[in-house]
């Protein structure tokens, strides 16, 4: 066997350029498949992680600024009122299948500690917020029901806020200023990797830049207006709640509950100033997309390997014809038909296997290059995930392609008449 390989390698090296060109199809095919798999798996993982982070038993109702008609432009001074109201919240949380409702009111704000300023976001919410978003504490405590009842000026800082404002100091017990009021810091959250946006319906969320305060406190201190006067601009809106996250017990209850929410919201809102997001639907969408992607990959892999295989078959056929005399010689000195067939099969397989292994290498490097280039040129983050099962697959498929594409040429070679072959010029 070792000798067959040696002879095969020697014969292939006799026509280096031809062998390289023949193997190139397989290299490109394998590389394409591995790269697509790696990038595909990366983006799929990113999407699924983001959706799973939302929770499959959650339903999210968010306020959306409605499209403004042209007459609004002339009345720019008017304050826009839109979004989910406290009444909506009461209605939604009284749906029987809903066991937990977390309202939030979020708006951008300047956060001051002594002379340090941080442009972050105030998130007014209730104590369940940390639970539903799977946030963990680094120090201190999260908001409590008692904070809510006492309308206390307490705050819990996101990781980046605490780090930027306090650096080496311990923030617990210190006071920050937001708007016209001071808030006592009772806790700091642990770092949380920002979530990716999902298909346009959910924005990317960076929890690390948030400051959490009780809803009752927020209502008392900020009112229902949201005034943004950062970076010189001034906008004012009236918005009671930015979002309500509802949780049901079981995934079976998600769709019926979604229908009830839809009905309720439609009844009390005559303009589309809210959006209902069902993570379960997104999850299923993402899985359907992933399946489509897999089918697409399969087709790409199939086509590229078919083309590669045809290339190999073509080259092997030319080789067989060119080496007719050699076949005659081998037959004369005792080679059986299967020896001849084996020789050409081995050569085809060496070509495809080498191509497959090189393609594997190229396929592993390419996504990293793409990631680097995308980040550098377009500031776009591409997530990659190497699928370990795909690594042995590449050479295995290459071997199969080699054998299949070598089959016909090998058969042609084996069936040659030794006398004719010896006479061949």
């Amino acid at each position: 066997m070792a000798l067959v390989l040696k002879i095969g390698v020697k014969s292939l090296l006799l026509h280096k350029v031809r062998s390289i060109l023949a193997g190139l199809g397989i290299v490109i095919g394998t590389a394409a498949v591995i790269s697509l798999l790696t990038i595909g798996a990366g983006s799929r993982k990113e999407a699924l992680d983001a959706i799973k982070a939302l929770g499959a038993t959650n339903l999210i109702v968010a306020s959306v600024k409605p499209p403004q008609d042209s007459s609004d432009a002339t009345r720019r001074a008017r304050i826009l009122k839109y979004g989910i109201t406290w009444e909506d919240y009461e209605r939604l949380s009284s749906i029987p299948t809903v066991w937990r409702a977390v309202p939030i009111r979020a708006f951008p704000a300047e956060i001051w500690y002594k002379a340090n300023k941080f442009d972050g976001r105030v998130v007014a919410t209730n104590p369940r917020y940390a639970e539903i978003n799977r946030l963990t504490l680094l120090a201190g405590r999260f908001l409590t029901d008692r904070d809510e009842d006492t309308i206390d000026n307490v705050a819990v800082l996101g990781f980046d806020v605490a780090r930027d404002l306090f650096q080496y100091e311990d923030p617990i017990g210190k006071s920050i200023k937001m708007g016209n009021h001071y808030y006592r810091i009772v806790g700091v959250m642990a770092y949380r990797v920002p979530t990716a946006g999902v298909g346009g319906s959910l924005a990317r969320e960076d929890y690390n830049r948030d400051v959490y305060i009780p809803l009752s406190t927020c209502r008392a201190r900020f009112g229902d207006w949201i005034i943004d006067r950062r970076s010189g601009q001034f906008t004012a809106e009236e918005l009671e709640l930015s979002q309500v996250t509802l949780t049901v017990h079981d995934t079976h209850q998600v769709r019926p509950t979604a229908n009830i929410i839809r009905t309720l919201m439609e009844r009390y809102h005559d303009k589309p100033d809210y959006q209902i997001t069902v993570p379960l639907d997104l999850l299923e969408d993402a899985e359907r997309t992933a399946l489509l992607w897999a089918v697409f990959l399969g087709v790409v892999a199939g086509i590229s390997l078919l083309v590669g295989g045809i290339g190999i078959a073509n080259i092997m056929l030319a080789t067989v014809m060119e080496r007719t005399r050699e076949i005659g010689i081998r037959r004369a000195v005792g080679a059986k038909r299967r020896h001849i067939a084996q020789q050409f099969l081995v050569e085809a397989t060496i070509l495809t296997t080498t191509g497959g292994i090189i393609g594997l290498g190229v396929g592993l490097v390419t996504p990293e290059i793409i990631r680097y280039v995308a980040d550098w040129l377009f500031d776009y983050e591409v997530t990659t995930q190497i699928l370990w099962w795909s690594l042995p697959m590449a050479p295995i498929i290459a071997i199969v392609v080699g054998v299949l594409s070598g089959l016909y040429p090998a058969r042609r070679a084996a069936l040659m008449d030794p006398i004719e072959a010896l006479r061949h010029e």
Partner: protein, 267 residues
């Protein structure tokens, strides 16, 4: 058929038979017929050829072009099957064996020397010599040693690692002869072995072939040239697919030492 393995001690054991005595019949063909079919046309290449060749003989087959010499040699070499008739090689009827069995016979009991050397271009001289052993699965450290001894016998021990393209025609033919000897075959078949060589090189190759015959090898050679046939002990003339005459060569050319001048005056 007796087990046929090279004996140690001698490069050429020279006996395919256990009861060696120089009178064994190595090749026996009886009423051999070979027809080629070109569409509906039948081309009779051999029309009933009978022949007996004993161990140690040196036979030259001559005849006009198209008389059936190559056809006969191909049948003797088990490269083809006769249309009818029998062929006994070393006592065994090989005229009706299948393709795999014929390959086995060729690999073990027959050595070929061709007009155009027929070496495998991508292999070195040494590897070319080993090819028959390779298909028998008999490449061993001992066989490597034997290949080197054969290389010395044909005068090529310096050239073992050269490719055919780096060798002269005469050297390539020597490699081919060594390859033909490597399995210690019953018969060596040579189709115009000097056809591509100049006079001086032809002489050297014939000297080597005569030397092998002197060492006991049975040689069957096809040639057009009377002065090449003159080295043989027995000359078979063919015409139209039949044997015209089968005679002992009375005026045999005996190669002289290399220092002596080439034989002249023989056309």
């Amino acid at each position: 058929m007796s087990e046929h393995t090279p004996k140690s001690g001698s490069v050429l054991t020279g006996d395919g038979f256990s009861d060696s005595g120089g009178t064994n019949v190595v090749v026996k063909i009886v009423d051999l017929v070979k027809n080629y079919y070109l569409g509906s046309v039948v081309v009779p290449a051999l029309r009933g050829v009978s022949l007996e060749i004993k161990e140690g003989e040196f036979l030259a087959i001559m005849g006009a072009s198209g008389s059936g010499k190559s056809t006969l040699l191909n049948l003797l070499g088990c490269l083809d099957r006769p249309t009818s008739g029998q062929y006994y090689l070393g006592g065994r009827d090989v005229s009706k064996l299948d393709d795999d069995e014929l390959s086995e016979i060729r690999g073990r009991y027959i050595g070929f020397v061709f007009q155009s050397y027929n070496l495998i271009p991508q292999l070195t001289a040494e590897e070319n010599m080993e090819v028959p052993l390779y298909y028998q699965g008999r490449i061993t450290p001992e066989s490597k040693k034997r290949v080197r001894e054969l290389a010395r016998l044909v005068g090529l021990e310096q050239w073992l690692h050269h490719k055919p393209t780096q060798l002269s025609g005469g050297q390539q033919q020597r490699v081919a002869i060594a390859r033909a000897l490597v399995n210690d075959p019953y018969i060596i078949l040579a189709d115009e072995p000097t056809g591509n060589l100049d006079t001086k090189t032809s002489y050297e190759i014939m000297k080597l072939i005569v030397q092998l015959n002197d060492m006991g090898k049975t040689i069957i050679m096809v040639t057009h040239e009377p002065d090449i046939a003159a080295y043989a002990k027995r000359i078979v003339m063919m015409r139209d697919g039949k044997i015209l005459s089968d005679t002992i060569n009375e005026n045999r050319t005996i190669p002289r030492d290399e220092q002596e001048p080439l034989p002249v005056g023989q056309n």
